[in-house]
Amino acid sequence: MGKHTPLYEKHLAAGAKLVDFGGWDMPIHYGSQIEEHHIVRQDAGVFDVSHMTVVEIHGDRGEDYLENLLANDIRRVRRPGQAVYSAMLNEQGGVLDDLIVYATGDPYLAVVNCATREKDLDWMSRQAQPFGCRIVEREDLAILAVQGPTAIARVSRLVTAEHAETIASLKVFQGSWCQDWFIARTGYTGEQGLEIILPGVDAADFWDALLADGIHPVGLGARDTLRLEAGMNLYGSDMDESVSPLESNMESTVFLEGRHFIGAEALRSQQASGPGAMLVGLVMTSRGVLRAHYPVFADGEAVGEITSGAFSPTLQHAIALARVSRLSSDMAVEIRGKMHPVTCVTTPFVRNGQPVFKPRSGT
């Protein structure tokens, strides 16, 4: 038996099919992954993501600590509580994890992946010592993500007046504490929505209120196809310690100029010599499904492999992220011994329910 979130009984009651997810028993779907996907694109769905790890960074020098820890630049934030998405690197420039830090000031709030929990806590604590900072895991908190075009309006009607006021005050990619709830306009779906970090003891009541309002529970299966359509990386599939953010389509989250952070020197030398690989979007409009580890070819030459692939419920054809050494106008993926033509495209594939990808220039 795996670990249970405070909503475990609620998942069973909602008819969830549970799977092991990094040591947690988590819902993969509640009947149909594809229906749940469409609900988030068209209306609003709720995900229990309480398996993710919430950490607080305590100390006067929290900003200096994060400046050293992250490839993204915490000093660039314009608004209090702004979310900073960043890679956390080792000295070699390899990606230890990707995380969101909310620029709340002391204590800063961060959310890291569950599969890398121990490694992250160990690394973050070790780096904290010279800055006199302290890393505190908040195991008492649950996380619910309510996502979709109607999500913000619907949640605003269901919460207290104070919480609704906080929601109304937030810009996209900003979060704020309101009493003991942290509410943020962030997510992993490419839709409008909220991520709400709240005491585990409050989670079941809030879940019930959301479902009573007709907001459908959505499993981690749809979460994966939604994030892939949104062109968002999944740690462990699309990047890991063996690759740098420059090879992971994360260039826009790396700020090297005039900065020192862990892994920066490695990135500078990689930038000078040119990264060996790039992470790109692929689409296949013929029938079939692209899946992780299928080999990718350019002009008949093997150039890499798919890191994440799926049938896109919104686009009704296969999409993938692939790490390749070069692009070409003649690209293909090998599926069960047969070559299938694919097109290399910009990501995201889908934004706010609409296709937005274009063929990449130079292909």
């Binding site: 099919k17 993969i28 779907h29 149909s32 992954q33 594809i34 299966g221 196809t225 029938r287 079939g288 499904v289 899946r291 799926a310 049938f311 069960r336």
Partner: protein
């Protein structure tokens, strides 16, 4: 709970087979479609192709994985369910009805009797879950 119609025969690999006049109709079980999740694509065999019992003759792709479909009997493929091209969800909705995959003209229809009974197949599925 998955259904295991007693009038069908089954393979350990989760196909079902049914005699329909002199043809064998083949699909995947309710248990299999539940385990796969939403089916998004089915690659069917070519009509007129000769198949041997145990051959990989089709592929079912769900949101979760790609799985091979094996021929339960030797013979010749005489029909495929073209409706699955545009509506692969039929495999989830009616695994024993409109979600059938293909029909074989068997060399030896009596070989059907050597496949698993519903009870034996059900036992295998239950053991898989533990």
């Amino acid at each position: 709970m998955a259904e295991f119609p007693s009038e069908l025969r089954y393979l350990e690999t989760h196909e079902w087979a049914r005699l329909d006049d002199d043809l064998i109709v083949v699909g995947i079980s309710d248990h299999a479609q539940e385990a796969l999740g939403d089916v998004v694509y089915v690659e069917l065999p070519e009509i007129d192709s000769a198949v041997l019992a145990g051959d990989e003759v089709a592929v079912v792709e769900s949101v979760k994985a790609a799985s091979d479909i094996y021929a339960p009997l030797s013979g010749r493929v005489v029909a495929v369910n073209e409706a699955l091209e545009d509506s692969p969800e039929l495999v989830n909705e009616m695994p024993y009805g409109d979600g059938w995959f293909f029909k074989i003209k068997p060399e030896d229809p009596s070989a059907l009797e050597s496949l698993l009974s519903a009870d034996d197949y059900k036992t295998i599925c239950e053991n898989e879950e533990h």
